[in-house]
Symmetry: C2
Amino acid sequence: MINYPIKKPQVVKATISVRNRGMDLEEAINQTNEYYVANDVAHIYKKPIPIQVVKVDYERRSAAKISEAYYKVPSTTDYNGIYRGRYIDFEAKETRSKSSFPLKNMHEHQVTHLENIRRHGGIGFIIVQFTLLDKVFLLDAQHVAEFWKRAETGRKSIEIEDFERLGRVVPEGYVKRLDYLKIVDEVYFK
Amino acid sequence: MINYPIKKPQVVKATISVRNRGMDLEEAINQTNEYYVANDVAHIYKKPIPIQVVKVDYERRSAAKISEAYYKVPSTTDYNGIYRGRYIDFEAKETRSKSSFPLKNMHEHQVTHLENIRRHGGIGFIIVQFTLLDKVFLLDAQHVAEFWKRAETGRKSIEIEDFERLGRVVPEGYVKRLDYLKIVDEVYFK
């Protein structure tokens, strides 16, 4: 890709914004993690999706073809790894709601897992993208657990005002698409 | 399962040994990790095997059936998690050799990954089972990296004497089938 000289920064900014909106959250985080790994900043990876393999065909000698398999429910969260000597663990979710993040997007064992991590001295959080608002938040595991508890009797979602008040906006960028470790620095290493 | 009174401990010991020998290493580690999680000792999980999904059929409304998929090369190691506030990362391998562990059982990026973890303040190691000897060792990532480096010009395996000298034997047991965290305590938290 050739980088032409930029004359109108406003236009470029708009382009980034539109591009990120179209790009899914997982891809943005994966690209950011690749940047972190390549620059030896952190070693955080997405876990593969768990799949139950039922049948494998060996048509060719070189490659096994899986011909019957099913998706399984993940037992933990999507991402984990190490940063500044600390264990990092998080789940990433998108919502098209403009007002709140429905908790039905999470599994109970994921909330429990993040709490376990926190209790054991790790860093646990969720990253939530409000796709239509083009806004991405990081929210600590402890808050997630509290909202989860509240949902037993009350509201079953986390309002955007709660994200504004208790979470942090994750900055979007060109090279580091979603520089969530900048927020991790501010929240957990201040 | 009913626990009958035990009259001959030697016989029982032999049974455990034979049973463990037949049981594969992955299963033994998974059961141990379940014990650790259930007792809130550590939160360590096996990562799912990465699979490239090519084709999905929606025969029934309830379940998606994957009808074409292929195994991918894992980008990191098999296991990671948190223990006593530290990030833990390891790879587990079996060999039927009675004298040495062939390094062709590892991928270069796994060795690099374990080194990265170590440099960033995490705990990285390999667990190697000499199946025919009924012996399981834990060896620190730094040693693995050194043997890997040596293999460029020299010997392409780690001899069992090296495991005896530089590693530790992982105790086998009934409840905790392979209590590798006991060794982690001794090696990394002494």
